[in-house]
Amino acid sequence: MSGADPTKLATNPIDDWTWLSRYTEARIALGRCGPGVPTSAHLGFQAAHAEARDAVLKPFDAEQFAADVIARGWHALAVHSRAVDRATYLQRPDAGRLLSPESEALLSEPRALADIALVVADGLSSRAVQVNALPVLDALMPLIAASGRRLSPVIVATQGRVALADHVGELLGASASIILIGERPGLSAADSLGLYLTWMPRRGRVDSERNCISNVRQGGLAPEDAAKQAADLTARMFQHQAAGVSLARLPQLPAPEHGGS
């Protein structure tokens, strides 16, 4: 990605201002062959795009993820949105925001009350979830437990959008929701996880009513730091009974660890 990579300079002719690459990660000083991009840079671009495409298209193994959660001694339930497959998911965001009838029935069964609905969904990058969701949970679970608030089982969702947490939170009667979800991959990072927090999650909530922690990955915001921010934001949500833009405008808790959104 950076111009310091000598392999991409092997092509003739070289753009002899590779030193500019110290100022930006942008793909500058690539060199050229006629109007074309040298082969190494050309294929390097394809490799980055392939990684992003695979992150979007590779199925999320929800059963395995739920098993990993259970193996840590936590509860987990696997659910599915109304988007039956990836093509539907990509074209019908409305379907990804609602639980399938079977999953709706499952979450409607009587269970212990929860203050916080915790959801993990594939979103646009199954890889982000596979790589970064458990490290976030490892750091987040003890922080929530220490706050004394009751947590739902980890709801592991396939073909889920952010607003799926509204449907989940509504069925569980939760006061707040936290969803960990794969972000749209870029060429430079295909494994970014996002965390969205919503107060009184109910169907029909809009984006301005949520707080977001994004770019969670190794090399971005570390999972442990993201978990701390999420725990702080959760505490503020319960203190102010609000989330989103309105929460961002409210004063910080005394001595917060991080600002948050």
């Binding site: 753009d15 942008a26 991009v37 840079a41 671009f45």
Partner: protein
């Protein structure tokens, strides 16, 4: 009211003009998502046949969104030029297609009828045209605008240099600008999408480009693509604002979602012109559009996304912009699913904009969750070049590291200019030769020594 057409023994009915327009539109995911698309291929063609039989006059009597409830409709109706419309007033949509394609309809005739066209007429004829029709007619249109460079002259194709940086770091932005200038890119504008939409960031970036412009004497015009209200604040603080930018939508409701009204745009135009940074009669606004933005903000009013896109151009033309571009594949696969849908939409938008008199460019682009890749972009880029597209984007290596999508690169601009024999704007071309970035024949030299005058931008190196 209502329309019908019988095809293969089945009679298809369409309740009103907006339904007819929607059903006639080539299949795309956004119209399906909105619940507006034709049920099947036969209904789609039946709608096109009914549309082809519709007199253009009908569009003056039926609005797709009511006059009373939408200021964009009021603008369309109130700005309609009956005298310009007269030569085509007797035509149906189908006959209008043939008139547009006719060898005797040239740039002069097209420009003369343009003020007599409503965006809905243009959207309608677009829906019964194939790609080669869209290319043929757009290639005949001539739209010329001016700031420090003259944009849109025959045989020219300009480029917006898009040197975005995730932290808005002026040095990082400058490094991408210098790379682009060495590739002869940037005559349309040097346009930066700021990661942070605030007046301090905007002023920091504008000051950097102004320093470059004055040091190098380059005939460039710059733009930081912040919200129009941010630009107004910067102008108040006497920042060197060349172009004022805004994203547009085709309905009043969706424009409200963008935080704009026509009155606010009027104010922005007045403020930009007051700076007198371009020759008298020059063009000072820069707009971006893109199919699907109205649906994405729940402001589509039951109208299909291609018709709404054409309505954006009715808004744009009120402000005589230097540049307009459709950011065609940025919005995502729920609106344009794959390379085929993106390609069609890009050519539709370019055609509609040109016919409505706009200096139309296209951000040939896609996101990583769309079914598209560089091959699709090459095909659209080449088609747009043949269609006489006013300008394209130039992003280092086609990879926008701030907005996280793929557009066209400096190399792509070089490619399309070479294969189609297109040249940069004359003032820019002369500057490239004067600085030695290109030789006397206009061939780029790629000599790093030519960067020297710009080095103060990067500090003490």
């Amino acid at each position: 009211m209502g329309f019908s057409h019988t095809l293969g023994g089945t009679t298809y009915r369409f309740d009103d003009l907006r339904t007819l327009l929607a059903k006639a539109t080539q299949m795309r995911s956004g119209d399906v998502l909105a619940g507006l698309a034709a049920q099947d291929a036969a209904e789609r063609v039946a709608a096109r046949m009914a549309l082809a039989d519709l007199p253009l006059r009908h569009f003056l009597n039926e609005a797709v969104i009511p006059y009373e409830s939408d200021e964009v409709t009021r603008l369309i109706v109130d700005q309609h030029d009956g005298a310009a419309f007269a030569p085509i007033a007797s035509l149906t949509v189908g006959a209008f297609r043939e008139w547009l394609l006719s060898d005797t309809t040239d740039a002069t005739k097209l420009a003369a009828v343009s003020p007599g066209l409503t965006p809905e007429m243009v959207a309608a004829v677009c829906k019964i045209m194939r790609l080669q029709d869209l290319v043929t007619v757009a290639a005949k249109c001539e739209v010329v605008t001016r700031f420090r460079c003259t944009i849109g002259l025959p045989g020219r194709m300009s480029t917006r240099l898009q040197p975005n940086h995730p932290l808005d770091d002026p040095k990082g932005v400058a490094a991408s600008i210098l790379d682009g200038l060495m590739y002869g890119v940037g005559d349309a504008t040097i346009g930066i999408n700021p990661a942070s939409d605030d007046v301090d960031t905007m002023m920091r970036l504008l000051d950097m480009i102004e320093t470059l412009r004055l040091a190098s004497n380059a005939p460039i015009q710059s733009c930081v693509l912040a919200h129009v209200t941010t630009a107004l604040k910067a102008i108040e603080r006497r920042a060197p604002v060349d172009l004022v930018f805004q994203s547009l939508a085709g309905t009043e409701e969706a424009n409200r979602g963008f935080g704009i009204t026509l009155a606010l745009l009027d104010e922005a135009l007045t403020a930009a012109e007051s700076l007198q940074r371009c020759p008298a009669g020059g063009n000072v606004m820069y707009f971006e559009t893109g199919q699907g933005s109205e649906l994405s903000s729940s402001g589509h009013c039951g109208v299909d996304q291609q018709t709404l896109e054409a309505r954006c151009y009715a808004v744009a033309r009120r402000y005589r912009p230097l540049l307009v571009n459709t950011v065609v594949g940025f919005i995502g696969p729920e609106y344009l699913y794959d390379g085929k849908q993106i390609m069609r939409a890009g050519l539709e938008d370019h055609f509609c904009g040109k016919l409505l008199g706009l200096p139309m460019g296209c951000d040939v682009c896609y996101t990583n969750h769309a079914e598209a890749d560089q091959d699709d972009m090459d095909a659209l880029l080449t088609l747009l070049g043949v269609a006489g597209c006013t300008y394209i984007m130039g992003v280092p290596g086609a990879d926008d590291i701030m907005l996280n999508y793929q557009s066209t690169s400096f190399h792509d601009a070089l490619y399309v200019r070479k294969v189609l024999g297109k040249r940069a704007a004359p003032e820019f071309e002369a500057w490239l030769a004067a600085t030695g970035i290109s030789d006397a024949q206009g061939e780029l030299r790629f000599e790093p020594a030519r960067l020297m005058p710009a080095l103060p931008l990067l500090g003490a190196e």
